[in-house]
Structures are given as structure tokens and as C-alpha cells.
């Protein structure tokens, strides 16, 4: 802007510059706020990592550290001898995978029936199955416990697997997805003489993989973190899943090693972190779908 320009436009320019500075300041404040909140969200993780590497005898010492000051990786080895940690991980992997794959099968077949077949009672059965979304698990836990004990399944992994094999949310999500697949695909296969089962297995299921992934990741994370049903049903230590095992490990605080407990915490975060890393896209999609459609 030269001095020869009319005063009006100079004033305008000054105003614009002021706005730009204002915008810059606002942006800086926004970043300070977001970074501040981000620090609040992550500082526990830094503290866990730093403290998990301290010598056990120093583990309670203050001031706290958020970056490692020592590197005693032996705490990590000790986790496995202090409690049957490897067994806990194995039990968690086993039950989580059983539920994840089991509900994929039950939900995808049900979703296929709802999305692709005309049958009597279709609406009623849909409402019946979906009503599960409104039933809090803690409301039914006492009655369910009585039934499962009566069947002799208490303190077995069946007790924490079977109740989760029907998943209303997965049914709903997969049905929505299957309805969006053009009907011409199955009609072509049916004309070629395939029956419904073959159409489901060879045509619809492979095409529904994105929705299966979303359901799998959501179920996996939910079940990996599920503490409540293990608390109710499992009483033998070697059957414990990881969340229950963590409570056992926490007892080691009392023998004077905070670092061992926190090394266990670090190890327990590996699987969720990996799953999040690989399945972020699906987890976010699933979260969004659960919000948009309910």
C-alpha cells in the first residue's frame, strides 16, 4: 500500500492487518489450549512409562518423573514371575477372539435374513433382538448368574463368552450395510442355481467385509477391556483374563514395587495400542455409525 492511496483504503488495510493479528493471536491461544489439554490426556502415560523403569526401591520416590531416569527393564521380566501374566494374556486373547468371531457369525447370518429375506415375523424378530440395546448388563447379571451356575458353567470361560454371542448392535450395523448392496448380485447367483446359504457365503459376506471389520474392532476392544463379567464368573486365578489379573498384580504395590505394577500396566496397553493403530479407521467409523443411527 503506497502513501498515495486514499485514506479510506489505508484505514481499511490497517483494519485488515489488525484482524490478521487478531486471528493469529486467536490461533496461538487455541493451540495453547489444545496442547494443554493434550498434555492432561497423556501425562499419565508418560508417568507410567518413566516409573515402570525405575529401580523398585526408588519407585515410590518423589519428585515423580515423566521421562525415564533409570532403565531397569528387569521390572518387565518380573511381571511374568510375580503373577501368571502370560496366562492372563492367553486367556484374554482366547475369550476375546472367541467372542469376536462368534458374534461375527451370529450377527452376519441374522443380518442377512433381515436384509435379504421376506418372512413372517421379520419386524417382530428384529425389534426383539434389537431390544437388547436397551438392557443394561448389570440389570440382568444376577438372573444370568443363577442360570449359568445352574448349568455348571460358572468359573469357566464359557460363562464369559456365551452371553456375548448375540450382539444387537452388530446385527443392526451389518443389516444396514447389506441393504445397501444391490439386489442384482444375489439375483444373478440365484439364477445360476446357488441356494441362499451359498449366496450368503460367497456373495454377500465377502462384500460386507467393511462392516464386519467395524464390528470386529469394536467388539475386540470392548471385550479386551471387559472386567465385569470376569469379576462375576471367574474365581480360579489361572482362568483370569487380563483386567482381573491386573487387580492381582496391583497387590504387588504392597511389597514395595510400584515399578513392577506399572510395568504390567505398560504391557497391558500394548494390545489396545496395536489394535488402535491398525483399526483406528474402523473404530472411528463404528463410533460414528453408533451415533448417527441410534
Amino acid at each position: 500500500m503506497t502513501s498515495s492511496s486514499p485514506p479510506q483504503s489505508r484505514a481499511l488495510a490497517r483494519h485488515a492487518a489488525g484482524r490478521r493479528i487478531g486471528a493469529g493471536l486467536r490461533k496461538a491461544l487455541l493451540l495453547v489450549f489444545l496442547f494443554g489439554f493434550a498434555a492432561f490426556m497423556v501425562f499419565p502415560f508418560f508417568w507410567v512409562f518413566a516409573t515402570s523403569l525405575r529401580l523398585p526401591k526408588d519407585s515410590f520416590n518423589l519428585p515423580p518423573s515423566f521421562f525415564p531416569t533409570a532403565w531397569s527393564w528387569s521390572n518387565y521380566e518380573y511381571v511374568f514371575t510375580a503373577v501368571p501374566f502370560a496366562t492372563f494374556i492367553f486367556n484374554s486373547v482366547k475369550t476375546t477372539l472367541a467372542i469376536t468371531f462368534g458374534q461375527l457369525l451370529t450377527a452376519s447370518t441374522a443380518a442377512y435374513a433381515f436384509a435379504r429375506m421376506n418372512f413372517k415375523g421379520s419386524k417382530l424378530v428384529f425389534v426383539y433382538l434389537l431390544s437388547g440395546l436397551m438392557i443394561p448388563y448389570q440389570s440382568i447379571i444376577i438372573a444370568q448368574f443363577l442360570m449359568i451356575s445352574k448349568a455348571g458353567l460358572a468359573d469357566t470361560h464359557w460363562a464369559i463368552i456365551l452371553p456375548y454371542l448375540s450382539n444387537p448392535f452388530s446385527i443392526f450395523l451389518m443389516r444396514q450395510f447389506m441393504q445397501s448392496i444391490p439386489k442384482s448380485y444375489d439375483e444373478a447367483a440365484l439364477i445360476d442355481g446357488a441356494n441362499k446359504l451359498r449366496v450368503f457365503w460367497h456373495v454377500i459376506l465377502p462384500m460386507s467385509v467393511p462392516s464386519l471389520m467395524v464390528c470386529s474392532f469394536l467388539t475386540f476392544i470392548y471385550q479386551w477391556n471387559n472386567f465385569f463379567s470376569g469379576l462375576i464368573y471367574l474365581s480360579t486365578q489361572v482362568k483370569y483374563t487380563l483386567p482381573l489379573g491386573m487387580q492381582l498384580l496391583k497387590g504387588y504395590q504392597s511389597i514395595g514395587s510400584l515399578s513392577t505394577v506399572l510395568a504390567g500396566v505398560m504391557l497391558s496397553l500394548v494390545v489396545p495400542a496395536l489394535v488402535y493403530g491398525f483399526g483406528q479407521k474402523y473404530l472411528i467409523q463404528g463410533t460414528v455409525l453408533s451415533g448417527v443411527k441410534s
Partner: protein, 306 residues
């Protein structure tokens, strides 16, 4: 072909398709009926009307369990606790979650936005049992990180976990930290779904940032706002893990929730009848919120995205 045989064929086809459909539905129906439907029916219509416990023979006792809710001194506290949890956690999720989402949405740098999104969402993914241990240590009165810094600042340290006046707030802080990523993410996706042209058009017409937010973005976000309110309420009703790990609901019952009360009565004191009645209360609360959501949704919420 006459009309009669035509419909007969159609009917036969419907019947065979019905049979196939129910075969496909059988696994879900079986597991749902056995492990969810029968238990909720037992809870609602049988157990909650009995005095079932380990010591006495089972009798139907009519509405005694429901009357006992009034005389159970802990029940009122537990309900009040739920209200307190909601009054702390709901604003955190509903307002702070929205502020964070607006902030991250305004960040143009893709990497930075991704960093914030991951940071805010990650606590949601980690095992509550593990991360609650961490917060339990950090809130410790003697060796905890938080009280250490309070002492450094010359502020008297707080008995976060062991005083009746703080325990509930401590659990609420942990819960808000753990789950705020959920509300944040719903809002963020909602904001991304609003076409930029809307706010641009408004700015050109001379609307300032506040007007754009309150007149354009907020109404368009209303379905998500509504959903966040609903799930926040339902999650507060069902809260179990957070108080269980941090305070075991204590000291006393100062941070106990309905879900924990069910656990304590049913599995701690083996009061199966009364525990089931508490289950009915929880069920009704969740059902009520769900119905309110459904019936108000149409009145409040504007859905004109497309």
C-alpha cells in the same frame, strides 16, 4: 395358471423362505433368548418379587423389595451419587467435548489435527482396569503425583480417594478423562459433515464467529448434541468400573453407583431378590432416557442436512 395356484405357489415360497430365514436367525435368537431375554424376564417379573437369598427359603413377597428401596439408607445416597456424577460428567462431555471438537476442527494442519484426535481418543481404548491403577497411584495421598505438586505449590494436599467429600469427584474426574474422547469424536465428525459453504455464506453476509456457531453450526449439530446427552446419561447410570477400581464405592458409600450397589447386594450380601429389584430400577432409568430421546428427538432436532 389360475390365480389360486399362483397364490399357493407364492405361499409355499414364503413358507420355505421363512424356514430358511429362521435357520439364519437361529444362532442370534438362541443366545439372545437364553442369556438376555430370559434373565431380564426373570429379573423383572420373578426375582424382584421374591426374598431369594442364600439363607431363607424362597417366597414371593409382593412389593416388599420395592418398599425396601425406601428403607435402604444407601439407596438414596446411591441415587444422589448418580445425580452428582451426571452433574459433573455431563457438562464435561457435552460442553468441553464440543469445545475441543470445535478447536480441532479449526486446525488446518492435517498432522496436528490427527495428533489431537488420537490424544483425546486414546484413553477410551485402553483397559480401564489398568489405567485406573495408574490414576489410583497418582491420586494417592502419600506418594501420589498430584498431591506432590499441590504440596510444592503450598496448597494443602487433598485426600482424593479416602475422604467422603472428595471421593466422588475423584471418580468423576477419572471417568471424564477416560471417556471424553467419545463425545469429542461424535462432535468432530458432526462438524466435518456440515458443508463449509454454510458458514462461508453466513460470514459473507456479515455474521461473526459467534453467530455462525449459534445460528448455523449448533442447530445442525443438534442430533449429535442430543445423542451425546443420552449416552452420557446412560453411561452414568451404568458406571461400575471407575468407582470399583478407584474407591470400591467408598469410603462408606460416598462414591457408590447403582451398578455397584447391585453387585454389592447381589454378590456381596447374596440378596438375590433385592439385588434384582435394584436391577429393575437401573433398567427403568435406562429405558426412560431412551424413550425421552425417541420422543423429543423429532421436536428438538433439526435434520435438514440434505
Amino acid at each position: 395358471m389360475t390365480a389360486g395356484t399362483h397364490t399357493a405357489v407364492a405361499r409355499r415360497r414364503l413358507r420355505s423362505e421363512t424356514r430358511t430365514a429362521y435357520l439364519f436367525l437361529a444362532p442370534s435368537l438362541l443366545f439372545f433368548t437364553l442369556f438376555v431375554a430370559v434373565p431380564i424376564i426373570l429379573t423383572l417379573f420373578v426375582l424382584s418379587f421374591t426374598n431369594f437369598s442364600l439363607i431363607s427359603p424362597v417366597h414371593f413377597v409382593g412389593l416388599d423389595n420395592f418398599k425396601a428401596l425406601v428403607t435402604d439408607p444407601d439407596f438414596a445416597t446411591v441415587m444422589l451419587n448418580t445425580l452428582k456424577f451426571i452433574s459433573f460428567i455431563a457438562p464435561m462431555h457435552i460442553v468441553l467435548g464440543l469445545v475441543l471438537a470445535l478447536g480441532v476442527h479449526a486446525i488446518k494442519n492435517k498432522f496436528l489435527a490427527g495428533f489431537f484426535r488420537t490424544t483425546f481418543y486414546f484413553p477410551l481404548v485402553v483397559t480401564t482396569a489398568s489405567i485406573a491403577i495408574v490414576w489410583g497411584f497418582m491420586f494417592d495421598f502419600h506418594f501420589g503425583v498430584i498431591d506432590y505438586y499441590l504440596r510444592q505449590l503450598g496448597i494443602p494436599p487433598i485426600q482424593w480417594l479416602t475422604s467422603t467429600s472428595w471421593s466422588l469427584l475423584t471418580v468423576a474426574i477419572f471417568s471424564a478423562w477416560k471417556f471424553i474422547g467419545n463425545a469429542f469424536l461424535y462432535y468432530l465428525i458432526g462438524l466435518q459433515n456440515i458443508p463449509n459453504s454454510y458458514s462461508e455464506a453466513a460470514s459473507i453476509d456479515g455474521a461473526n464467529a459467534w453467530q455462525v456457531f449459534f445460528r448455523i453450526k449448533l442447530p445442525l449439530l443438534s442430533p449429535i448434541l442430543f445423542f451425546v446427552i443420552t449416552i452420557t446419561l446412560i453411561n452414568c447410570f451404568q458406571m461400575f468400573d471407575e468407582p470399583y477400581f478407584l474407591t470400591k464405592g467408598g469410603p462408606g458409600v460416598s462414591s457408590q453407583t447403582i451398578a455397584m450397589h447391585i453387585y454389592r447386594k447381589g454378590f456381596g450380601e447374596f440378596l438375590i431378590g433385592y439385588g434384582s429389584t435394584l436391577g429393575v430400577v437401573l433398567f427403568i432409568l435406562v429405558l426412560a432416557v431412551t424413550f425421552i430421546q425417541f420422543s423429543l428427538q423429532e421436536k428438538w432436532v433439526s435434520y435438514d442436512f440434505e
